[in-house]
């Protein structure tokens, strides 16, 4: 019986799948939710897609042994950049898109360089850039436009690609989320690049000595996470035809919870893209799905907290299980 499930339990995403099933079961049994309504709903899928596009690169950064919390400021920074460039100044939308993603690249580059060149932990480095970027966005928006909210009218093609609805209420960003997840899953699990990320997160010095270009790899990962955050902000501005200076801070904790529920080890070296993907869905269903239940929504944070702790406990025990010898040795010892 156990041996049938053993290969599954050894995978990094095992706990996230169990968490997801557990949460849905809990909502059905205790909350009296109708599964068709839940799975037909767009709210949690939209929420998951916005969160997931940031969670995947940040999670991969965590597998590589670093963390990026500056994404909390990069999301409003991304939406403000495109709104100021293409909305306030009326530049072509292409310029706005390139400018937004370039800002992400620059902030990611700064995060990466500071992490690689100093011994300051990336939590502190990105805490610094988080606060800096908040200041830049607030003061910059005020200086350039004199307002905290900027309007943006995107042309039809940009609206269709980044900010339209599929059907009555599903955002087009869901499509981007799935594509990004597939690309990253391929890169991380099937290429040499992915193996380097795991090696770097497992043991930075050994990886460097084995010839992995750790500095360059770290900088690339930071750039990807900042670009992804700017992209999510940009899609939001195009979707809602305006951008605000605030918001985005909630993403910091939400991404970390999704990533950890998804089976990524906080200290690096272990995790999977599919795990992060499922962890994000789990988090979205816990926080948004509660509206479909009879449960008072004020309980949602409690449920998130308990899910996180249970998932972490499961991750720990499954990881130990994965570390134990394979089936061959067990047969010999019994």
């Amino acid at each position: 019986m156990l041996s049938t499930f053993a290969p599954f339990l050894r995978r990094p995403e095992a706990a996230s799948i169990i968490s997801l099933v557990g949460i849905v079961a809990f909502y059905v049994i205790i909350g009296g939710v109708d599964l068709r309504t839940l799975f037909g709903a767009a709210s949690w899928v939209n929420f998951a897609a916005n969160l997931g596009i940031v969670a995947i690169p940040v999670g991969i950064l965590m597998i590589g042994g670093q963390i990026d919390i500056s994404i909390g400021a990069m999301i409003p920074a991304g939406s403000m950049t495109i709104a100021i460039l293409s909305g306030y100044y009326g530049l072509p939308i292409e310029v706005g898109i390139i400018g937004t993603l370039a800002l992400g690249a620059v902030v990611g580059l700064v995060n990466g360089l500071l992490t690689v060149r100093t011994t300051v932990p990336s939590l502190i480095v990105t805490l610094g850039t988080l606060v800096v970027m908040q200041g830049v966005v607030l003061a910059g928006a005020n200086l350039l436009t004199g307002a905290a909210s900027v309007k943006l009218e995107a042309p039809a093609w940009a609206k269709a690609a980044f900010g339209s609805l599929i059907g009555p209420s599903h955002q087009v960003i869901i499509f981007w989320w799935i594509v990004i997840a597939l690309i990253f899953a391929f890169a991380i699990h099937k290429t040499r690049f992915g193996n380097w990320v795991y090696a770097m997160g497992g043991d930075l010095v050994s990886a460097r000595n084995a010839g992995v270009p750790t500095a360059r790899l770290t900088i690339i990962l930071f750039m990807l996470s900042a670009i992804s955050a700017a992209f999510v902000g940009m899609c939001g501005a195009i979707q809602f035809n305006s951008a605000q200076v605030s918001g985005g801070m909630g993403y910091i904790f939400n991404t970390i919870v999704s990533i950890v529920v998804g089976g990524v080890l906080l200290t690096g070296g272990f995790g999977s893209v599919i795990g992060i993907f499922i962890g994000t869905i789990t988090f979205a269903i816990v926080s948004q799905g509660i509206y479909f239940t009879d449960i008072d929504r004020n309980w949602s944070n409690l449920i998130i907290g308990v899910t996180l702790l249970l998932a972490v406990a499961m991750n720990e025990s499954f990881r130990k299980f994965a570390l134990r010898a394979g089936p061959k040795k067990k047969a010999a010892s019994s």
Partner: protein, 274 residues
């Protein structure tokens, strides 16, 4: 075998960190198919010596020679490229990676072309498992197992097999048996012998004299940063080596003084100093 020229040699190497001299006038040689045991107590300078040999530190004065020509290792990568592989106490392996993946970190085999060049898991696993099994570790037969699930001895063996597979000529083993039980240590010593049989030069760092004597051809004792003794297999007994490592104050003397005290004090040991 030992008549040929040394692969790796240190000539009058000194190393100081600021005002602190750590190594004085170190002269060492190691030849192909020979195990050089570097013995010394904690703080004798063994670690610094390893770091010089593996390119982490550079000598303050003196020279490193390979195959008779002077070389310098500005970084660990340079030393590795010249065929010097260092295996640390805990293997320098990645506990949460599979055997196949960790074996090929940095040199992963791929198949396919262009952007679809994918990591060849089957090939990596097969090569890694075969390399370890060739060293007599037949219990490793699944390349997908995580390295952290292996025993300490198996992890050492994997690291040594990896170094040999990638063409190491000089193998530096830093206290490979220190954290291991008796059986596991015997395992690693067998692998050291196998590496030697294959013509590698092995520098075996330890403070366990028994382990050194089991595999060593040549011994150097390091005391306070200097080579206090340099001798061949069979020239000194275990007691003599232990005495040397203890820094001249012989263990026999120590035992004698305690025995003397006990005979005059009714069989009681001396009271603790404080």
């Amino acid at each position: 075998m030992s008549a040929n020229a040394p692969i790796l040699a240190l000539r009058n190497v000194n190393k100081s960190f600021g005002p602190i001299d750590v190594l004085h006038d170190i002269n060492l040689e190691v030849r192909a198919g020979e195990v050089l045991c570097l013995l010394g107590d904690n703080g004798a300078g063994k670690s610094t010596l390893i770091r010089i040999l593996s390119g982490v530190h550079q000598p303050t004065t003196g020279a490193i020679e390979m195959d008779g020509g002077q070389v310098s290792f500005p970084n660990p990568r340079a030393a590795a490229d010249k065929g010097i592989a260092t295996v640390h106490q805990f293997g320098g392996t990645f506990p949460l990676m599979s055997i196949g993946r960790s074996f090929f970190v940095g040199v992963e085999p791929t198949k396919g072309w262009g952007p679809f060049k994918v990591y060849d898991r089957k090939k990596a696993n097969a090569i890694a498992v075969k390399a370890v099994q060739d060293f007599g570790i037949t219990r490793i037969d699944d390349g997908d197992r995580l390295v952290g699930g292996l025993s300490g001895g198996e992890r050492q063996s994997l690291a040594i097999a990896r170094a040999v597979h990638f063409g190491a000529r000089v193998l530096i083993l830093d206290e490979p048996t220190a954290a291991l039980g008796v059986k596991q240590a015997a395992h690693v010593l067998r692998i050291v012998n196998e590496a030697k049989r294959r013509g590698l030069a092995v520098i075996f760092i330890t403070h366990q004299v028994m382990h050194a004597m089991a595999v060593g051809d040549h011994f150097a004792v390091l005391i306070r940063g200097a080579v206090a003794a340099d001798f061949k297999k069979g020239e000194k007994s275990r007691e003599q080596i232990t005495d040397l490592m203890a820094g001249g104050e012989t263990m026999a003397d120590l035992e004698k003084s305690i025995d003397g005290y006990m005979s005059t004090h009714g069989g009681h040991p001396p009271p603790p100093a404080h």
